[in-house]
């Protein structure tokens, strides 16, 4: 019986300032994050106490708390929002990390909320720059000129799941999933012959397994920093995906992973196909628009990315049929949609336009090229590629297509708008977000696994939150409703 899973996604957004005077991107990112607060409000600081991103999952070392981290040293904006998300500056990009979500649908809602937050924050930041300045934000992962920035998925797993098994059983999945997770891009870092490819990120991956995230990027990242009880949990930090605008793509990206991780935890996969060269295969899959490129297998012979995805779908279908746990409705929908996109891709992957980003964008790019007789090297065509990812509802081309009904939606705008301010109710994000909303002036700092509170009467009090499933509305809603300040809250918590 598999454990309950939680998921969160962090996205480093692209940022460009257009105006009379240049602004460096670190400062601009800090202005964007800093602009996102109500007048007169103080930020709730990020609590770094339990962070240790250099800890390696392969070493077998159990993480210990207390290792401080680096990034507030520059005084860059770094804050926690009432929806439980973290909003900060990372590597010269504004980054939004969703709150912990308990299913793929919620993840779509809180990921989309991040787009609204970025659009709003950019507009506010521009108001403090010289007249005529604009701050443009793109939910993308490359500038097309050699730089990449990340969208990382995070999945909470029991520590008992062996890391070697995860690596072995996930690598072929990571290699083949760009058929629906790819956000598409013009050109390539590796092959001048590539006009358009499935993913933004694939060309930037160089090794199979490793700790790095900015150099020698690995398909399987080994960062071992659970942001939860380290004796019970590990966090799988997946860095090889793209930022998605299509809701179906985000939903499948995390929904398939959550089910697959259940199957791997229960050791239900046998004889996973082993690729001879996963990194080369990842590039080949991204550079091919048919889903039928041959990927050499270690045992000889080859397999296509479509066949690999079909193998995983069939394995997961068998697993859920045999296990003693009923499927949640969201899981049912993941399986139905996963099967449907593979069926469509088997006809022609381009028919996925309207559901996944690369195909939706490719259809637009091809239409534009044909109208104007332009090649892939045209800067106007490249602008269409870039502006697809613009977060502004009136200018972003994804958003224009969605407004016309060309893109399938899974969640409604009112839900997303509410998620800008409110946390998911069924994870510890609820306690974090609600404490900030109710007692902002008394929450000194917050992290994934702790709140630091100031009661005004003694030392700062740190409240650990080491269980991501605890602190839900059902568990602590009544308690929060019954208190007026954090002193009373702490009294009640200590019972």
């Amino acid at each position: 019986m598999s454990s309950r899973k939680f998921v969160g996604v962090e996205t480093e957004y692209g940022i460009a300032v257009d105006g009379p005077s240049p602004v460096n991107p670190v400062l601009a990112s800090s202005m964007v994050v800093g602009a996102y607060r109500a007048a007169g409000q103080e930020d709730v600081r990020w609590d770094h106490t339990d962070e240790s991103p250099q800890r390696d999952a392969r070493s077998g070392v159990v993480p210990a708390p207390g290792e401080p981290m680096i990034d507030d040293e520059l005084g860059l904006a770094n804050t926690v929002l009432t929806n439980g998300a973290r909003f900060y500056v990372d590597h010269a990009h504004p980054e939004y990390a969703t709150p912990e979500c308990a299913n793929a649908r919620d993840l779509v809602v809180w990921d989309r909320a991040g787009e609204l937050i970025l659009a709003d924050a950019a507009e506010r930041a521009a108001a403090s720059l010289p007249a005529g300045s604009r701050v443009l934000i793109h939910k993308n992962n490359t500038d097309g000129k050699g730089a990449a920035y990340g969208t990382h998925e995070n999945y909470l797993l029991p520590r008992s799941v062996p890391f070697g098994r995860l690596t072995r059983q996930l690598l072929p999945f990571f290699v083949s999933r760009p058929l629906y997770t790819g956000a598409g891009r013009i050109g390539s870092e590796l092959d001048r012959g590539v006009g358009f490819q499935l993913t933004q990120r694939a060309d930037f991956f160089e090794v199979e397994v490793g700790l790095e995230t900015t150099l020698k990027r690995p398909l399987m990242n080994t960062r071992d920093e659970p942001h939860a009880d380290p004796n019970r949990y590990r966090r799988l930090h997946v860095i090889n995906g793209d930022a998605n605008l299509c809701e179906v793509a985000t939903f499948l990206k995390v929904g398939t992973m959550l089910l697959l991780l259940d199957a791997i935890e229960d050791d239900a996969l046998s004889a996973v196909p082993v690729l001879a060269e996963p990194v080369a295969a990842f590039h080949a899959v991204s550079h091919d628009l048919t889903g039928r490129v041959d990927l050499p297998l270690e045992a000889g012979g080859s397999i296509t990315p479509l066949a690999l995805q079909r193998w995983y779908l069939d394995a997961v279908l068998r697993y859920v049929k045999d296990r003693d746990q009923a499927l949640e409705p969201v899981e049912e929908e993941v399986l139905t949609r996963w099967e449907a996109v593979l069926d469509t891709a088997e006809e022609d992957p381009r028919h996925l336009a309207g559901q996944v980003d690369w195909a939706t964008k490719l259809e637009l790019l091809e239409g534009y090229r044909q109208r104007h007789g332009l090649g892939w090297d045209s800067d106007r065509v490249k602008m269409v590629d870039l502006q697809y990812h613009d977060v502004r509802p009136d200018r972003g081309l994804y958003h224009r297509l969605a407004a016309r009904g060309r893109v399938e939606r899974l969640v409604d705008n009112a839900e997303v708008a509410a998620a800008v301010h409110s946390p998911p109710e069924d994870t510890r994000a609820w306690f974090r977000g609600e404490c900030i909303r109710r007692f902002r002036s008394q929450v000194v700092a917050a992290g994934w696994d702790a709140l630091v509170l100031d009661t005004g009467r003694d030392n700062l009090q740190r409240v650990p939150m080491m269980e991501p499933g605890r602190g839900t509305r059902a568990q602590v809603g009544g308690l929060l409703d019954a208190v007026d300040d954090v002193a009373a809250l702490l009294d009640r918590l200590r019972g």
């Binding site: 730089a147 099967e339 534009y368 399938e408």
Partner: protein, 67 residues
């Protein structure tokens, strides 16, 4: 919200009744036309929506590497 190319391709393999999958051909054509229209309409206006000085903007779009 949308029939954007989605509904006609869902779950064809599951249906025991092939006729169910065959009948909406006209509907499919209509949907296909709608889809083309959706994209065409955006293409009609795209040069008004694209950044002014698109070429210059995209050439100047340089990001710092991240994670």
């Amino acid at each position: 919200m949308s029939d954007g190319g989605q509904s006609q391709r869902r779950s064809g393999e599951q249906s025991p009744d092939a006729a169910v999958e065959q009948t909406p051909v006209e509907g499919e054509d209509a949907r296909a036309r709608d889809v083309v229209d959706d994209v065409d309409e955006l293409l009609d206006e795209i040069d008004d929506v694209l950044e002014e000085n698109a070429e210059e903007f995209v050439r100047g779009y340089v990001q710092k590497g991240g994670q």
